[in-house]
């Protein structure tokens, strides 16, 4: 019971203080995936572990990672594209660089939570691939749509 309450408090903390500061769900997914160790798959967050415990912090990060991923999997291509435009416009990289890198290296595959089912993972990968193709098309045809202006910055 105390354990569950500790995890819930850590989740609430993350959702109240850390995640709202990030621009959109793509940024949140990238951030949460980056808190996961590449070798062990364990989640680490020093600040959160300091306030709560390492175990509670890891569980909270895992839960939030799953939630953000599920929201993205269930969003339409249009919404996902909006999230990508928000992410790119936040200045994480130049639009062309970003599209090139994400299309070639496919870092979104590493951002998938370990507990997600294979069909959700496949749907997410497919949606991202299509969203990137549309982003590239918009970047190459600025007059095609107004949000492309974001990508030309």
């Amino acid at each position: 019971m105390a354990k569950q309450m500790g995890i819930q408090a850590a989740i609430a903390d993350l959702k109240k203080r850390t995640l709202p500061g990030l621009p959109g769900d793509i940024a949140r997914l990238v951030y949460l995936a980056a808190t996961r160790d590449y070798n062990s798959g364990r989640y680490y967050h020093e600040g959160l572990a300091h306030i709560y415990t390492q175990e509670f912090a890891a569980r909270a990060l895992q839960e939030c990672h799953n939630d953000v991923f599920q929201d993205l999997v269930r969003s339409s291509i249009e919404d996902l594209l909006g999230q990508f435009e928000l992410y790119v416009s936040s200045g994480c990289a130049q639009a062309d660089e970003f599209i090139d890198f994400w299309e070639k290296i496919e870092p979104y595959r590493v951002a998938i939570p370990l507990t997600s089912d294979p069909i959700s993972a496949q749907l997410f990968n497919s949606n991202v691939k299509i969203a990137l193709a549309i982003l590239r098309h918009r970047a190459n045809n600025p007059r095609n749509s107004s949000p492309a202006a974001l990508l030309q910055r």
Partner: protein
């Protein structure tokens, strides 16, 4: 001469089949097939989320992609969606196949069979397999978005199949427990 030869060959074949049937190994005891771990595994089938199929074949996505992107992206999108739908279908079919294998193993030596429920389960399963094959064919002929309504039907049949099997497995477990000897003191 030829009819006599035919009768002899048919007789030998029949004798062979009967001999094989008489001396084949008996079915394994149900205890060895249906341990509690197996039961819980069979009852916790990992069926893919049903709402995902609605999401992946949402016509609004298709309309948006058609409006926003060139023909090659639309083609890529349709290929991706077809692959996804087939993946979903195969995963579901595999899981339902596991459930049926487990079910057949569990009820094979159960004397308290419920014929009506077993027939119902069998019919659901046959219907499920036929619809799966139909969808696989249609997805290539008509495209992935045309199979959306039938996919909903598959979800419905899978749910029913699972419901009937759970009911039957519950009855088998109950009868096994009831017929088990009392524990020694």
């Amino acid at each position: 001469m030829i009819p006599a030869l035919f009768s002899i060959v048919a007789g030998v074949l029949l004798l062979g089949i009967l001999t094989y049937w008489a001396f084949r190994r008996p079915w394994p005891a149900p205890e060895s097939r249906s341990s509690p771990a197996d039961t819980s595994k069979a009852l916790r089938l990992e069926l893919p989320p049903a709402d995902l199929i609605e999401r992946m074949l949402d016509p609004r996505d298709l309309a948006f992609v058609r409006e926003e992107s060139p023909a090659e992206t639309v083609r890529l999108f349709e290929q991706e969606r077809r692959a996804l739908a087939i993946s979903w279908l195969r995963h579901t079919r595999r899981q339902v196949g596991c459930l049926m294998s487990y079910h057949v193993g569990a009820v094979r030596q159960n004397i308290n069979l419920q014929p009506a429920l077993e027939i119902q389960l069998g019919l659901h399963y046959v219907r499920f397999l036929v619809v799966c094959q139909l969808i696989l064919g249609l997805s290539y002929v008509r495209g992935p978005f045309e199979i959306r309504p039938i996919m909903g039907y598959v979800v419905c049949v899978t749910t029913r199949l699972r419901g009937v099997s759970d009911k039957l497995l519950g009855a088998v477990q109950f009868s096994t427990q009831a017929s088990a000897p009392p524990p020694r003191r």
